[in-house]
Protein backbone atom coordinates (compact mmCIF):
# COMPACT_ATOMS: atom_id res chain seq x y z
CA UNK A 1 0.00 0.00 0.00
CA UNK A 2 2.77 2.44 0.95
CA UNK A 3 4.33 2.75 -2.46
CA UNK A 4 1.02 2.87 -4.30
CA UNK A 5 -0.28 5.57 -2.02
CA UNK A 6 -2.22 8.41 -3.67
CA UNK A 7 -0.94 11.95 -3.26
CA UNK A 8 -3.04 14.99 -4.07
CA UNK A 9 -0.77 17.92 -4.96
CA UNK A 10 -2.42 21.31 -4.54
CA UNK A 11 -0.58 24.43 -5.73
CA UNK A 12 -1.45 27.32 -8.05
CA UNK A 13 2.06 27.22 -9.40
CA UNK A 14 2.04 24.88 -12.40
CA UNK A 15 5.81 24.34 -12.27
CA UNK A 16 5.77 23.19 -8.65
CA UNK A 17 2.95 20.77 -9.41
CA UNK A 18 4.77 19.36 -12.42
CA UNK A 19 8.02 18.95 -10.58
CA UNK A 20 6.45 17.21 -7.59
CA UNK A 21 4.35 14.99 -9.85
CA UNK A 22 7.45 13.79 -11.68
CA UNK A 23 9.41 13.14 -8.51
CA UNK A 24 6.65 11.23 -6.75
CA UNK A 25 5.85 9.19 -9.85
CA UNK A 26 9.51 8.17 -9.92
CA UNK A 27 9.12 6.88 -6.36
CA UNK A 28 6.12 4.82 -7.34
CA UNK A 29 3.34 6.99 -5.94
CA UNK A 30 0.11 7.76 -7.72
CA UNK A 31 -0.70 11.48 -7.93
CA UNK A 32 -3.41 13.89 -8.90
CA UNK A 33 -3.37 17.67 -8.91
CA UNK A 34 -5.46 20.73 -8.15
CA UNK A 35 -4.63 24.37 -8.86
CA UNK A 36 -6.90 26.14 -6.41
CA UNK A 37 -8.82 25.45 -3.22
CA UNK A 38 -12.09 24.70 -4.91
CA UNK A 39 -10.54 22.11 -7.20
CA UNK A 40 -8.73 20.65 -4.20
CA UNK A 41 -11.96 20.02 -2.29
CA UNK A 42 -13.51 18.46 -5.37
CA UNK A 43 -10.47 16.26 -5.99
CA UNK A 44 -10.50 14.99 -2.41
CA UNK A 45 -13.98 13.62 -3.03
CA UNK A 46 -13.26 12.17 -6.46
CA UNK A 47 -9.67 10.98 -6.06
CA UNK A 48 -9.76 10.00 -2.38
CA UNK A 49 -6.09 10.68 -1.72
CA UNK A 50 -4.05 9.11 1.08
CA UNK A 51 -2.23 12.36 1.68
CA UNK A 52 -2.53 15.99 0.58
CA UNK A 53 0.31 18.43 -0.15
CA UNK A 54 -1.30 21.82 0.25
CA UNK A 55 -0.10 25.26 -0.75
CA UNK A 56 -1.48 28.12 1.34
CA UNK A 57 -1.65 31.17 -0.93
CA UNK A 58 -4.10 30.24 -3.69
CA UNK A 59 -6.96 31.91 -5.54
CA UNK A 60 -10.63 31.34 -4.54
CA UNK A 61 -10.28 29.27 -1.37
CA UNK A 62 -6.88 29.40 0.34
CA UNK A 63 -5.02 26.47 1.92
CA UNK A 64 -6.02 27.40 5.46
CA UNK A 65 -9.70 27.19 4.55
CA UNK A 66 -9.26 23.90 2.64
CA UNK A 67 -7.54 22.37 5.63
CA UNK A 68 -10.18 23.65 8.04
CA UNK A 69 -13.00 22.21 5.96
CA UNK A 70 -11.40 18.81 5.36
CA UNK A 71 -10.67 18.36 9.05
CA UNK A 72 -14.27 19.13 9.96
CA UNK A 73 -15.79 16.26 7.95
CA UNK A 74 -15.87 12.75 9.39
CA UNK A 75 -14.93 11.09 6.13
CA UNK A 76 -11.96 13.32 5.30
CA UNK A 77 -10.55 14.31 8.67
CA UNK A 78 -8.15 11.39 8.87
CA UNK A 79 -6.39 12.28 5.58
CA UNK A 80 -3.00 13.78 6.51
CA UNK A 81 -2.28 17.29 5.20
CA UNK A 82 1.23 18.67 4.71
CA UNK A 83 1.23 22.41 4.14
CA UNK A 84 3.84 23.75 1.77
CA UNK A 85 4.41 27.44 1.99
CA UNK A 86 6.81 30.25 1.53
CA UNK A 87 5.42 31.74 4.72
CA UNK A 88 8.26 30.91 7.08
CA UNK A 89 7.23 32.88 10.17
CA UNK A 90 6.31 30.93 13.30
CA UNK A 91 2.78 32.43 13.60
CA UNK A 92 2.02 31.27 10.03
CA UNK A 93 3.10 27.75 10.89
CA UNK A 94 1.04 27.78 14.06
CA UNK A 95 -2.01 29.02 12.18
CA UNK A 96 -1.62 26.20 9.65
CA UNK A 97 -1.27 23.55 12.32
CA UNK A 98 -4.17 25.06 14.27
CA UNK A 99 -6.39 24.75 11.25
CA UNK A 100 -5.73 21.05 11.04
CA UNK A 101 -2.57 20.64 8.96
CA UNK A 102 -0.59 17.68 10.23
CA UNK A 103 2.79 19.02 9.10
CA UNK A 104 4.28 22.22 7.70
CA UNK A 105 7.19 22.57 5.30
CA UNK A 106 8.69 25.90 4.31
CA UNK A 107 9.41 26.63 0.66
CA UNK A 108 11.96 26.31 -0.82
CA UNK A 109 12.30 22.81 0.58
CA UNK A 110 14.59 19.87 0.13
CA UNK A 111 12.75 17.22 -1.88
CA UNK A 112 14.25 14.38 0.16
CA UNK A 113 12.85 15.87 3.34
CA UNK A 114 9.40 16.16 1.81
CA UNK A 115 9.61 12.59 0.57
CA UNK A 116 10.48 11.34 4.08
CA UNK A 117 7.58 13.22 5.62
CA UNK A 118 5.14 11.92 2.99
CA UNK A 119 6.29 8.39 3.71
CA UNK A 120 5.81 8.92 7.44
CA UNK A 121 2.29 10.39 7.13
CA UNK A 122 1.13 7.72 4.70
CA UNK A 123 2.16 5.09 7.26
CA UNK A 124 0.24 6.93 9.96
CA UNK A 125 -2.84 7.04 7.77
CA UNK A 126 -2.68 3.31 7.07
CA UNK A 127 -2.54 2.66 10.79
CA UNK A 128 -5.46 4.96 11.56
CA UNK A 129 -7.50 3.27 8.87
CA UNK A 130 -6.71 -0.16 10.24
CA UNK A 131 -7.88 0.98 13.63
CA UNK A 132 -11.06 2.45 12.17
CA UNK A 133 -11.80 -0.82 10.40
CA UNK A 134 -11.20 -2.69 13.62
CA UNK A 135 -13.63 -0.47 15.49
CA UNK A 136 -16.32 -0.92 12.86
CA UNK A 137 -15.74 -4.66 12.94
CA UNK A 138 -16.10 -4.77 16.71
CA UNK A 139 -19.31 -2.77 16.60
CA UNK A 140 -20.67 -5.16 14.03
CA UNK A 141 -19.67 -8.19 16.04
CA UNK A 142 -21.30 -6.83 19.15
CA UNK A 143 -24.61 -6.12 17.47
CA UNK A 144 -24.65 -9.37 15.58
CA UNK A 145 -23.79 -11.53 18.53
CA UNK A 146 -26.49 -10.01 20.68
CA UNK A 147 -29.45 -9.49 18.46
CA UNK A 148 -29.41 -9.82 14.76
CA UNK A 149 -28.56 -13.36 13.79
CA UNK A 150 -31.34 -15.69 12.72
CA UNK A 151 -32.43 -18.73 14.71
CA UNK A 152 -30.07 -21.64 14.40
CA UNK A 153 -27.19 -19.35 13.56
CA UNK A 154 -26.97 -18.17 17.09
CA UNK A 155 -28.94 -18.82 20.22
CA UNK A 156 -27.65 -15.55 21.63
CA UNK A 157 -30.34 -13.48 19.94
CA UNK A 158 -33.04 -15.75 21.23
CA UNK A 159 -31.56 -15.60 24.73
CA UNK A 160 -31.48 -11.80 24.53
CA UNK A 161 -35.16 -11.69 23.64
CA UNK A 162 -36.12 -14.16 26.36
CA UNK A 163 -34.05 -12.28 28.96
CA UNK A 164 -36.14 -9.19 28.28
CA UNK A 165 -39.38 -11.14 28.64
CA UNK A 166 -38.14 -12.72 31.87
CA UNK A 167 -37.27 -9.35 33.34
CA UNK A 168 -40.79 -8.15 32.49
CA UNK A 169 -42.28 -11.24 34.16
CA UNK A 170 -40.14 -10.85 37.26
CA UNK A 171 -41.17 -7.21 37.51
CA UNK A 172 -44.84 -8.18 37.18
CA UNK A 173 -44.56 -10.88 39.84
CA UNK A 174 -42.73 -8.49 42.17
CA UNK A 175 -45.52 -5.92 41.85
CA UNK A 176 -48.17 -8.57 42.52
CA UNK A 177 -46.28 -9.76 45.63
CA UNK A 178 -45.95 -6.23 46.95
CA UNK A 179 -49.61 -5.55 46.22
CA UNK A 180 -50.63 -8.52 48.37
CA UNK A 181 -48.41 -7.34 51.20
CA UNK A 182 -49.80 -3.83 51.09
CA UNK A 183 -53.35 -4.62 50.02
CA UNK A 184 -52.97 -2.31 47.04
CA UNK A 185 -55.37 -3.27 44.25
CA UNK A 186 -54.06 -0.71 41.72
CA UNK A 187 -50.59 -2.17 41.95
CA UNK A 188 -52.10 -5.67 41.69
CA UNK A 189 -53.66 -4.75 38.34
CA UNK A 190 -50.40 -3.24 37.03
CA UNK A 191 -48.42 -6.30 38.02
CA UNK A 192 -50.92 -8.74 36.60
CA UNK A 193 -51.12 -6.82 33.29
CA UNK A 194 -47.37 -7.13 32.97
CA UNK A 195 -47.47 -10.86 33.65
CA UNK A 196 -50.20 -11.35 31.04
CA UNK A 197 -48.49 -9.20 28.44
CA UNK A 198 -45.24 -11.11 28.81
CA UNK A 199 -46.97 -14.47 28.69
CA UNK A 200 -48.49 -13.32 25.40
CA UNK A 201 -45.03 -12.51 24.14
CA UNK A 202 -43.81 -16.03 24.95
CA UNK A 203 -46.76 -17.59 23.09
CA UNK A 204 -46.12 -15.39 20.09
CA UNK A 205 -42.44 -16.28 20.14
CA UNK A 206 -43.12 -20.03 20.27
CA UNK A 207 -45.61 -19.90 17.39
CA UNK A 208 -43.29 -17.82 15.21
CA UNK A 209 -40.29 -20.01 16.01
CA UNK A 210 -42.18 -23.18 15.10
CA UNK A 211 -43.37 -21.63 11.87
CA UNK A 212 -39.88 -20.51 11.02
CA UNK A 213 -38.08 -23.74 11.86
CA UNK A 214 -40.58 -26.02 10.12
CA UNK A 215 -39.73 -27.28 6.66
CA UNK A 216 -42.93 -26.61 4.83
CA UNK A 217 -43.74 -27.57 1.31
CA UNK A 218 -46.47 -25.50 -0.30
CA UNK A 219 -49.79 -27.37 -0.34
CA UNK A 220 -51.09 -26.65 -3.79
CA UNK A 221 -54.81 -26.75 -4.37
CA UNK A 222 -57.49 -24.97 -6.32
CA UNK A 223 -58.33 -21.60 -4.90
CA UNK A 224 -59.34 -18.04 -5.74
CA UNK A 225 -56.51 -15.64 -4.78
CA UNK A 226 -58.98 -12.74 -4.56
CA UNK A 227 -61.07 -14.66 -2.04
CA UNK A 228 -58.04 -15.27 0.17
CA UNK A 229 -57.21 -11.57 0.11
CA UNK A 230 -60.85 -10.78 0.87
CA UNK A 231 -60.84 -13.10 3.88
CA UNK A 232 -57.69 -11.45 5.28
CA UNK A 233 -59.34 -8.02 4.92
CA UNK A 234 -62.40 -9.28 6.80
CA UNK A 235 -60.28 -10.71 9.62
CA UNK A 236 -58.36 -7.48 10.16
CA UNK A 237 -61.32 -5.11 9.62
CA UNK A 238 -62.24 -5.02 13.28
CA UNK A 239 -58.87 -4.01 14.70
CA UNK A 240 -58.36 -1.49 11.88
CA UNK A 241 -61.70 0.15 12.64
CA UNK A 242 -60.75 0.54 16.29
CA UNK A 243 -57.97 2.93 15.23
CA UNK A 244 -59.98 4.59 12.41
CA UNK A 245 -57.95 2.92 9.70
CA UNK A 246 -59.73 2.22 6.43
CA UNK A 247 -58.96 -1.00 4.55
CA UNK A 248 -59.41 -0.62 0.79
CA UNK A 249 -59.76 -3.66 -1.46
CA UNK A 250 -58.47 -3.31 -4.98
CA UNK A 251 -58.72 -6.73 -6.61
CA UNK A 252 -57.98 -7.56 -10.23
CA UNK A 253 -61.26 -8.86 -11.77
CA UNK A 254 -59.37 -10.89 -14.37
CA UNK A 255 -57.96 -13.09 -11.60
CA UNK A 256 -59.74 -16.43 -11.69
CA UNK A 257 -59.30 -19.77 -10.02
CA UNK A 258 -55.71 -20.89 -9.66
CA UNK A 259 -53.68 -23.74 -8.26
CA UNK A 260 -51.69 -22.23 -5.43
CA UNK A 261 -51.12 -22.71 -1.70
CA UNK A 262 -54.04 -20.90 -0.08
CA UNK A 263 -52.82 -21.40 3.52
CA UNK A 264 -49.40 -20.00 2.73
CA UNK A 265 -50.84 -17.01 0.89
CA UNK A 266 -53.27 -16.40 3.71
CA UNK A 267 -50.47 -16.40 6.27
CA UNK A 268 -48.35 -13.99 4.22
CA UNK A 269 -51.16 -11.52 3.59
CA UNK A 270 -52.31 -11.64 7.20
CA UNK A 271 -48.77 -10.81 8.34
CA UNK A 272 -48.45 -7.94 5.90
CA UNK A 273 -51.87 -6.43 6.60
CA UNK A 274 -51.31 -6.65 10.38
CA UNK A 275 -47.95 -4.94 9.91
CA UNK A 276 -49.58 -2.23 7.79
CA UNK A 277 -52.17 -1.61 10.51
CA UNK A 278 -49.39 -1.43 13.13
CA UNK A 279 -47.52 1.07 10.94
CA UNK A 280 -50.61 3.31 11.03
CA UNK A 281 -51.06 2.86 14.77
CA UNK A 282 -47.40 3.79 15.39
CA UNK A 283 -47.68 6.83 13.15
CA UNK A 284 -47.49 9.97 15.25
CA UNK A 285 -49.05 12.21 12.59
CA UNK A 286 -52.59 12.42 13.93
CA UNK A 287 -53.82 14.56 11.04
CA UNK A 288 -53.54 11.75 8.51
CA UNK A 289 -56.48 9.71 7.35
CA UNK A 290 -54.94 6.24 7.55
CA UNK A 291 -55.52 3.81 4.74
CA UNK A 292 -54.35 0.25 4.17
CA UNK A 293 -54.73 -0.87 0.55
CA UNK A 294 -54.74 -4.53 -0.44
CA UNK A 295 -54.24 -5.00 -4.14
CA UNK A 296 -54.13 -8.10 -6.34
CA UNK A 297 -52.82 -8.05 -9.89
CA UNK A 298 -52.60 -10.80 -12.46
CA UNK A 299 -49.48 -10.03 -14.47
CA UNK A 300 -48.84 -10.81 -18.13
CA UNK A 301 -45.87 -13.05 -17.36
CA UNK A 302 -47.89 -15.56 -15.34
CA UNK A 303 -47.22 -14.13 -11.91
CA UNK A 304 -49.65 -12.99 -9.25
CA UNK A 305 -48.77 -9.80 -7.45
CA UNK A 306 -50.12 -9.01 -4.00
CA UNK A 307 -49.51 -5.48 -2.79
CA UNK A 308 -50.16 -4.29 0.73
CA UNK A 309 -49.57 -0.59 1.23
CA UNK A 310 -50.18 1.81 4.08
CA UNK A 311 -49.72 5.53 4.66
CA UNK A 312 -48.49 5.01 8.22
CA UNK A 313 -45.15 5.79 9.86
CA UNK A 314 -42.86 4.35 7.15
CA UNK A 315 -39.30 3.23 7.80
CA UNK A 316 -35.87 4.83 7.93
CA UNK A 317 -32.88 3.36 6.09
CA UNK A 318 -31.56 1.55 9.15
CA UNK A 319 -34.87 -0.22 9.71
CA UNK A 320 -35.15 -1.18 6.04
CA UNK A 321 -31.73 -2.79 6.17
CA UNK A 322 -32.68 -4.93 9.15
CA UNK A 323 -36.18 -5.84 7.94
CA UNK A 324 -35.56 -9.46 7.13
CA UNK A 325 -33.29 -10.15 10.07
CA UNK A 326 -34.58 -12.34 12.88
CA UNK A 327 -35.50 -10.78 16.23
CA UNK A 328 -35.37 -7.23 14.90
CA UNK A 329 -38.55 -5.40 15.80
CA UNK A 330 -39.61 -1.78 15.97
CA UNK A 331 -42.76 -2.61 17.89
CA UNK A 332 -41.20 -1.74 21.25
CA UNK A 333 -40.83 -5.35 22.32
CA UNK A 334 -44.32 -6.31 21.17
CA UNK A 335 -43.22 -8.19 18.07
CA UNK A 336 -40.94 -11.20 17.88
CA UNK A 337 -39.16 -9.88 14.82
CA UNK A 338 -39.92 -13.11 13.00
CA UNK A 339 -43.17 -12.23 11.17
CA UNK A 340 -41.60 -10.78 8.04
CA UNK A 341 -38.95 -13.47 8.03
CA UNK A 342 -41.73 -16.06 7.94
CA UNK A 343 -43.57 -14.20 5.20
CA UNK A 344 -40.40 -14.14 3.14
CA UNK A 345 -39.84 -17.85 3.78
CA UNK A 346 -43.33 -18.79 2.59
CA UNK A 347 -43.06 -16.57 -0.49
CA UNK A 348 -39.72 -18.13 -1.38
CA UNK A 349 -41.00 -21.66 -0.86
CA UNK A 350 -43.55 -20.73 -3.52
CA UNK A 351 -40.84 -19.71 -5.93
CA UNK A 352 -41.86 -16.13 -5.23
CA UNK A 353 -40.27 -12.93 -3.96
CA UNK A 354 -41.06 -10.19 -1.51
CA UNK A 355 -39.96 -6.58 -1.93
CA UNK A 356 -40.49 -3.40 0.01
CA UNK A 357 -40.70 0.27 -0.73
CA UNK A 358 -40.91 2.72 2.13
CA UNK A 359 -40.60 6.40 2.95
CA UNK A 360 -40.19 7.57 6.52
CA UNK A 361 -43.35 9.39 7.59
CA UNK A 362 -45.22 8.53 4.41
CA UNK A 363 -45.83 4.81 4.50
CA UNK A 364 -44.71 1.47 3.09
CA UNK A 365 -45.65 -0.94 0.32
CA UNK A 366 -44.85 -4.64 0.53
CA UNK A 367 -45.13 -6.63 -2.69
CA UNK A 368 -45.25 -10.40 -3.01
CA UNK A 369 -44.99 -12.00 -6.45
CA UNK A 370 -45.74 -15.69 -6.93
CA UNK A 371 -46.16 -17.93 -9.95
CA UNK A 372 -49.81 -18.23 -10.97
CA UNK A 373 -50.99 -21.57 -12.24
CA UNK A 374 -54.26 -21.43 -14.07
CA UNK A 375 -56.64 -24.30 -13.22
CA UNK A 376 -57.18 -25.04 -16.89
CA UNK A 377 -53.50 -25.63 -17.60
CA UNK A 378 -52.38 -27.41 -14.47
CA UNK A 379 -54.42 -30.60 -14.52
CA UNK A 380 -57.91 -31.52 -13.42
CA UNK A 381 -57.19 -32.52 -9.81
CA UNK A 382 -55.21 -29.46 -9.03
CA UNK A 383 -53.17 -31.46 -6.53
CA UNK A 384 -49.43 -31.67 -6.73
CA UNK A 385 -46.58 -32.91 -4.61
Amino acid sequence: MTNKAKILIVDDNVDTVELLTKRFHAEGYDTSEAYDGEQALQQVVEYQPDIILLDIMMPKIDGYEVSKRLKSYDNTKHIPIIMLSAKARVPDKIKGLDLGADDYIVKPFDYRELSQRVKYWVTVKVEVEERLTKIRQLEKELIQSERLAAVGQTVASLAHYVKNILFGLKGGVYLVDEAFKENDTDSLKDGWDLVESNMGRISGLVLDLLEYSRERKPEYEKCFPNEIADDVCKLTQESAKEYSIEIIKDFDPSMGEAVMDPKGIHRCLLNLVSNAIDACIYDSNEEKKWVVRVKTILEDDGMVRFEVSDNGCGMDEETKKKLFTGFFTTKEGRGTGLGLLNTQKIAQEHGGTITVNSQLGQGSTFTIRMPYRDVATSGATGKED
Binding site: K134, E146, F167
Partner: protein, 129 residues
Protein backbone atom coordinates in the same frame (compact mmCIF):
# COMPACT_ATOMS: atom_id res chain seq x y z
CA UNK B 1 -38.53 14.54 44.70
CA UNK B 2 -35.56 12.95 42.97
CA UNK B 3 -36.02 12.01 39.32
CA UNK B 4 -34.95 8.78 37.65
CA UNK B 5 -34.94 8.35 33.85
CA UNK B 6 -35.40 4.91 32.29
CA UNK B 7 -34.23 4.61 28.67
CA UNK B 8 -35.36 1.35 27.01
CA UNK B 9 -37.05 0.54 23.70
CA UNK B 10 -39.14 -2.22 25.28
CA UNK B 11 -42.44 -0.78 26.50
CA UNK B 12 -42.89 -3.52 29.14
CA UNK B 13 -39.44 -2.94 30.59
CA UNK B 14 -40.16 0.81 30.78
CA UNK B 15 -43.39 0.03 32.62
CA UNK B 16 -41.76 -2.35 35.10
CA UNK B 17 -38.85 -0.05 35.84
CA UNK B 18 -41.11 3.03 36.16
CA UNK B 19 -43.20 1.20 38.73
CA UNK B 20 -40.08 0.17 40.63
CA UNK B 21 -38.86 3.77 40.55
CA UNK B 22 -42.17 5.10 41.86
CA UNK B 23 -42.35 2.39 44.52
CA UNK B 24 -38.94 3.50 45.75
CA UNK B 25 -40.26 7.02 46.24
CA UNK B 26 -38.79 8.72 43.18
CA UNK B 27 -40.32 10.36 40.12
CA UNK B 28 -40.06 8.28 36.93
CA UNK B 29 -39.23 9.66 33.48
CA UNK B 30 -39.25 7.52 30.30
CA UNK B 31 -37.49 7.57 26.93
CA UNK B 32 -37.47 4.92 24.21
CA UNK B 33 -34.07 5.49 22.59
CA UNK B 34 -30.84 7.42 22.92
CA UNK B 35 -32.02 10.45 20.97
CA UNK B 36 -35.14 10.86 23.07
CA UNK B 37 -33.08 10.02 26.16
CA UNK B 38 -30.52 12.79 25.59
CA UNK B 39 -33.38 15.22 24.95
CA UNK B 40 -35.00 14.38 28.28
CA UNK B 41 -31.67 14.57 30.08
CA UNK B 42 -30.97 18.07 28.78
CA UNK B 43 -34.48 19.37 29.30
CA UNK B 44 -35.14 18.00 32.77
CA UNK B 45 -31.91 16.84 34.38
CA UNK B 46 -32.58 13.55 36.18
CA UNK B 47 -30.71 12.47 39.33
CA UNK B 48 -30.11 8.96 37.98
CA UNK B 49 -30.32 7.28 34.58
CA UNK B 50 -31.17 3.64 33.98
CA UNK B 51 -29.98 2.76 30.49
CA UNK B 52 -30.59 -0.12 28.10
CA UNK B 53 -27.88 -0.85 25.50
CA UNK B 54 -29.45 -2.11 22.27
CA UNK B 55 -32.13 0.23 21.00
CA UNK B 56 -33.15 1.44 17.55
CA UNK B 57 -32.09 4.98 16.58
CA UNK B 58 -29.34 5.85 19.02
CA UNK B 59 -28.02 2.94 21.08
CA UNK B 60 -27.20 3.05 24.77
CA UNK B 61 -23.55 2.49 23.89
CA UNK B 62 -23.47 5.87 22.14
CA UNK B 63 -25.69 7.62 24.64
CA UNK B 64 -23.48 6.51 27.52
CA UNK B 65 -20.44 7.93 25.79
CA UNK B 66 -22.24 11.20 25.08
CA UNK B 67 -23.33 11.53 28.69
CA UNK B 68 -19.90 10.87 30.11
CA UNK B 69 -18.09 13.25 27.79
CA UNK B 70 -20.36 16.24 28.35
CA UNK B 71 -19.11 18.38 31.22
CA UNK B 72 -22.52 19.32 32.62
CA UNK B 73 -23.92 15.77 32.43
CA UNK B 74 -21.01 13.54 33.29
CA UNK B 75 -21.74 13.49 37.02
CA UNK B 76 -25.24 12.02 36.64
CA UNK B 77 -24.94 8.42 37.84
CA UNK B 78 -25.89 5.70 35.34
CA UNK B 79 -27.09 2.15 35.95
CA UNK B 80 -26.81 0.08 32.80
CA UNK B 81 -29.71 -2.38 32.55
CA UNK B 82 -29.20 -4.69 29.62
CA UNK B 83 -29.42 -8.26 28.41
CA UNK B 84 -25.89 -7.82 27.07
CA UNK B 85 -23.18 -9.28 29.30
CA UNK B 86 -21.09 -6.68 31.13
CA UNK B 87 -17.95 -8.00 29.45
CA UNK B 88 -19.22 -7.11 25.97
CA UNK B 89 -20.24 -3.66 27.15
CA UNK B 90 -16.84 -2.88 28.63
CA UNK B 91 -15.12 -4.10 25.49
CA UNK B 92 -17.18 -1.79 23.27
CA UNK B 93 -16.56 1.14 25.61
CA UNK B 94 -12.81 0.52 25.46
CA UNK B 95 -12.89 0.65 21.68
CA UNK B 96 -14.90 3.86 21.72
CA UNK B 97 -12.46 5.33 24.24
CA UNK B 98 -9.51 4.50 22.05
CA UNK B 99 -11.26 6.06 19.08
CA UNK B 100 -12.31 9.23 20.86
CA UNK B 101 -8.90 9.52 22.50
CA UNK B 102 -10.38 9.98 25.95
CA UNK B 103 -11.25 7.57 28.66
CA UNK B 104 -14.77 7.26 29.99
CA UNK B 105 -15.42 5.89 33.50
CA UNK B 106 -17.36 2.68 34.09
CA UNK B 107 -21.04 3.04 35.00
CA UNK B 108 -22.04 3.23 38.66
CA UNK B 109 -23.59 -0.22 38.30
CA UNK B 110 -24.28 -2.81 35.66
CA UNK B 111 -27.33 -5.04 35.83
CA UNK B 112 -27.71 -7.90 33.41
CA UNK B 113 -31.34 -8.74 32.66
CA UNK B 114 -33.13 -10.64 34.08
CA UNK B 115 -31.91 -9.53 37.50
CA UNK B 116 -34.29 -9.55 40.48
CA UNK B 117 -36.28 -6.29 40.77
CA UNK B 118 -35.19 -6.03 44.43
CA UNK B 119 -31.61 -5.67 43.24
CA UNK B 120 -32.48 -2.65 41.10
CA UNK B 121 -34.41 -1.03 43.95
CA UNK B 122 -31.52 -1.60 46.37
CA UNK B 123 -29.08 -0.05 43.88
CA UNK B 124 -31.25 3.03 43.29
CA UNK B 125 -31.51 3.58 47.04
CA UNK B 126 -27.79 3.12 47.51
CA UNK B 127 -26.96 5.67 44.82
CA UNK B 128 -29.66 8.24 45.55
CA UNK B 129 -29.84 7.76 49.30
Amino acid sequence: MKKVLIVDDDVDIRKVVSKLIEKSGYQAMEAKNGVEGMGKVREDKPDLIILDMLMPKESGIRMYHELKTEESLKDIPVIVLSAIPKKSFLRSQKVLDEFAGQSVPEPEAYIEKPEEPEELIALMKKILG
